[in-house]
Symmetry: C2
Subunit: 351 residues, 2 copies
Amino acid sequence: MPATSRRAVITGGTGFLGRKLAERLLVGWPDLERLTLADRAGPPDGWQLDDPRVELVIGDLVDRGFVETVVGDDVDLVFHLASVVSAGAEQDFDLGYAVNLHGTIGLLERCRAITAATGRRPMVVFASSVAAYGSGAGDPVGDATILRPESSYGVQKATGELLINDYHRKGFIDGRGLRLPTVSVRPGQPNLAASGFASGIIREPLDGVDCVCPVSPDTVIAVISPRRVVDGFCRIATIDGDRLGVDRILLLPGLAMAVAEAIEAVERAGRGRELGRVTFDVDPDIQRLVDSWPPAIVSERATALGFAGDDSVAAIVRQHIEDELEPELAVTTTDRTPLRPHAGGRSGPDR
Amino acid sequence: MPATSRRAVITGGTGFLGRKLAERLLVGWPDLERLTLADRAGPPDGWQLDDPRVELVIGDLVDRGFVETVVGDDVDLVFHLASVVSAGAEQDFDLGYAVNLHGTIGLLERCRAITAATGRRPMVVFASSVAAYGSGAGDPVGDATILRPESSYGVQKATGELLINDYHRKGFIDGRGLRLPTVSVRPGQPNLAASGFASGIIREPLDGVDCVCPVSPDTVIAVISPRRVVDGFCRIATIDGDRLGVDRILLLPGLAMAVAEAIEAVERAGRGRELGRVTFDVDPDIQRLVDSWPPAIVSERATALGFAGDDSVAAIVRQHIEDELEPELAVTTTDRTPLRPHAGGRSGPDR
């Protein structure tokens, strides 16, 4: 976050990554005065933030009036996490473009208007996805791999990256972004993401629930844990922007996880628990979509800038148990390190 | 063009590439029943097509009503050449996005509506540009090089490619496209394109007019001649779509042309003419933009599919003299070979 920033917004703020990022910002960022969580729906039952700095706003990002309400002239920093997920954007073409493309454009235009009105340039941190790669991307994919997505969601994420770079280049925003591997383990209910199995095969058995996996056991998917994603968002918001250069989007490191390997890791970590069973019922559409994503990722730029991925599938399973299933542990595992904003000024488009 | 197609549209149809493509289609495509040239302005004085199949429609592609008028339900084939050029889109950010992004979306939505209404899937051939690459693209650029444009025009072209691929994948259109090197020699008046010098340094001296070049003599730019571009559009419209695969956009071969080399070629070819002089007044903005484009291009996919570039700078200069300065020769040089549409059916998204 910019050194002078005090007021932040998280779109998709009641989603699970939004909530985790909010928790981290509230403990790690002493100067934070207001944190607006904007989303289409409220948080799940049982989650609440008893913090006077938190403001919850429910509405639709496609509505530019809503965007103006959420992103007031005094906002310094927007984490743009909201999107229709991959299978959702595939099922409803118009909805996916409305939210993921035109909603993002509306948000960027709003921030551009703030810059024009106030001379302060808001920072916008965009959540992209490795779904922006295509099946011909090669293995591993890296910083220089062409983005040839084979899903509408991927097209919308790739386009968002291009727009973040262009609005930054023009000096309209301080644009930054992370191209995220599939996040695992995603807690809570399954969503429409085609990558949902990468969490379900770990989460459901540990909850004692049976799980039907829609891809074959030898399917490999590049994953990153929630903690590493939250670390990544905090790091990219606080890093000296000059170190990013003209391409403001960093590819985060992904751990190549085979479905069968995850199932074994759960069985080892879950001894003493009553585990649900994983069975297979391959959905050709999901298998095809997932097979078009890169199983291995080499993130030279992000690694050189200190961004980290996960060490092992076992560690990912352990993190999920600590953070979601044993809340008494979570207090000690939550990272409370103060976030140190980069001290540079905010003038000029490259700061 | 699809084997059954009869009615075609060229957006940007009164621009110089649109006119050359129109001339080629009218002589080479015996089955053509109607050719609509849609543009913001009429053709230049002196150009006319006395052909009852030609329909000229003036209007703004940003206006969806205009798009509906131009692209009627009976249209089989759209060559989408219209765009705000690079320096124009850089000067007027909103206009560039309105025309190059939202205008393209409007056109794709119109074609999608035709598919939904009639079951016939129009072919859309999109003109992209190597401006979609960035300065970090490496040298040479190729089919697998990431698109990290450093101009709004480049962002809009890169986004257009993504949309063409997605609308094709969804079965809404038969999508195809060419990523074009800088076209040289572009006849007529200079336009706002930052690449304008690549034509001006050849065209102006041959017209006996002095020319101020805004980039240094050692600047190298990848170019393609108008004839090769028109050949490319005809070829991609008639090729078996299965041969394109999931990425519907082909990078056309570019010839690396140094400014000093072009000036020498003009001096050799122009003996006996009264040549204008080229002087240099480097514009840092244009130099920076042009330096961000790739000087060398390797087009493996297009070459394997029979697409050709130019042999030499001398040949490009000669072509310009033949086609634009010695019209009595142009009659014999115009390619009148019949265009043979691929005979495959049109069912299914991959045909």
